[in-house]
Symmetry: C2
Subunit: 148 residues, 2 copies
Amino acid sequence: MTEGWERRLRDQGFRITPQRQLVLEAVEHLRHGTPEEILVEVQRTASGVNLSTIYRTLEVLEDVGLVTHAHIGHGPPTYHAVDEHTHIHLVCDRCKAVQSVPASRAAGFVDALEAEFGFRTDISHVSVHGLCADCKDRSFEPEPDDPL
Amino acid sequence: MTEGWERRLRDQGFRITPQRQLVLEAVEHLRHGTPEEILVEVQRTASGVNLSTIYRTLEVLEDVGLVTHAHIGHGPPTYHAVDEHTHIHLVCDRCKAVQSVPASRAAGFVDALEAEFGFRTDISHVSVHGLCADCKDRSFEPEPDDPL
DNA sequence: GTATATGCAAAGGGTTTGCACGGTT
DNA sequence: AACCGTGCAAACCCTTTGCATATAC
């Protein structure tokens, strides 16, 4: 569990509640989780927790900097604990595999955007789409359906 | 209008319809458009066209390679004609401004992902989030609300 | 004439909101 | 005790789907 999470909430005027603790634990345990997946995880301990609470709690936890979210394709966002090593998601549009690579691999790109356009990139926020190594080689086969 | 669009459809077994022509024209005219925006544009000429037709048509046009879509934040996807110069969207999470930069700026990053992980990136598919030059300088001010 | 495309309306996911109750401070 | 947080249900937005009709071939 992220150290000092309680202070982080309290210092910004939020209260400590079992739900907030459980959601944070779930995010850290799952490593990658959609709101729905987080709900299921939380309900293993507290079955009464509601989905809307998950949404509201994730928003609060993101506000205080304990979690972030990234978009992986069309579906719901994926949440992460912020203490994990920052990474980029490589999403295969064909087989849907998601590979994480260190955000440092994008340092050159990110720096160039800042130098040239003054744009400060949050590289981990959005995933990178394409074809993974396996699917690249098999790209003549029919798609398994529903490409992102 | 993209040259040879009719062949492109016909060759893949699709029929030529007024709706498909209008949607393609709308996408090219708007340069960036969500399904809803495309509907409005199409309805300036043909008010009877239905939203579901827009969705189905965009899917077909994408299948045959006449348009692509990219995700800009939480909302609906944005469609482009493929003949336009490939570009990346830089989305400011604070002021929501969207800046287009040539995809070539990411060449180094894309090449590195392919060399290191065998991953073939479709860089234009997903937008890059962060803070634009203006907002970076004003980042001490309160946010205007609803960051993406 | 036949198969595909369209319009319409209803259903479906994911997310947000209003409200009254319950818990934290 | 006051206020914030939660559960519940309804509403919301975006997208998809079933079906009957219209249209391209």
